[in-house]
Symmetry: C2
Subunit: 202 residues, 2 copies
């Protein structure tokens, strides 16, 4: 699919049919996710791909799917044929930035003005969300509210922080997020030309 169309078509879809996803489609999405950039090419992101139905149910339970159901949503996490649990390790970044080419003149690790590990896993998940659309599928992201519980459930090492579950499947008619009623911010509130308060130039 054309890149622009992929971006414009993508939205969080929270209901899926029972149709399975070919394993080649899953593999393609993952291969593309590996092309996300990372600070110092640290590659501190990792993903657990959950396809076994009983394990998907456990993931959904941890994610509070029951609460969503009470609010009238479908059980999109357990019904999705694939749930991808996105994780990132801050430790991998510190290890990378303690290699000789990244140390400062005094031999110290840089001070991190921004936790780029969270930025990088956001970039990786963006590729997966778009790749799902490109594969004729749909996806929804849910933030992980209980990282230690998800670590225990999936055997994720302590230094990897699970940030979210990307549920992927064939789209069905879903209940829209009430957040969408807020509407998209006007262009001029988001984009500023040649300085925050400079005259807008579109």
């Amino acid at each position: 699919m054309e890149f622009e169309r992929t971006v414009l078509k993508r939205r969080m879809v929270r209901h899926f049919t029972t149709e399975p996803i070919p394993s080649a489609s899953i593999r393609r999405m993952l291969d593309l996710a590996q092309h996300a950039p990372s600070a110092g090419f640290s590659q501190g992101s990792a993903y657990v791909i959950v396809t076994r139905p009983e394990l998907r149910k456990k993931v959904a339970l941890l994610q509070g799917e029951g609460e969503y159901s009470k609010a009238g949503f479908h059980g999109w996490i357990s019904e999705a044929p694939v749930d991808i649990v996105a994780c990132v390790s801050e430790k991998v970044y510190h290890d990378r930035y303690n290699e000789s080419d990244k140390l400062d003149d005094e031999g110290n690790e840089i001070e991190w003005p921004t936790p780029y590990w969270f930025f990088d896993i956001g970039a990786g998940c963006m590729i997966i969300l778009l790749a799902a659309v490109d594969q004729g599928l749909a996806a929804a992201f849910s933030g992980i509210t209980d990282p230690p519980g998800m670590r225990r459930l999936l055997g994720i090492p302590p230094h990897y922080h699970p940030v979210g579950v990307i549920s992927i499947g064939h789209p069905a008619k879903d209940k829209k997020s009430p957040s969408l009623k807020r509407g998209r911010k006007p262009f001029d509130e988001v984009f500023h030309y040649d300085g925050w308060h400079a005259t807008p130039k579109k």
Copy 2:
């Protein structure tokens, strides 16, 4: 361009020709960036688009372009016709999650297990980096080492944290990042099926 090709073609390019970028191309990239998701549709990301040459030089100076030049790199930040300074406001997220539909049963804001504002700006920047390739251009991301300095230079409000500069232009032959010598991690180290230590299934 096809989505997959856009992802596979993208890499950080750190040298640009003097050819300008049509303003319609810039606008297209920004419009697409607004389609990045955000927690609770908070939309806490904002971007300062720097095109004035003297201001690009100041941005480049703050980013330590001189140090990169000593290491044999081109001055890609000052030479890029467009530098986009990506910012995100944690405050916008807290404000959003203090609205009635997001409070917990006791009327309190959720505890944030992950700073999703950094995740979301990573997703937005990923779209811009890909959109540049889709427009026949190239881009490089540099992390902001002096956020207060960048705020002062561009008049960015205190609650917006500038995370990086996306420099965009027509690609020229550049010096590759030495980090690439590390190589891409093997697939099985990044992706884990049905549990971190379960048998790989490709």
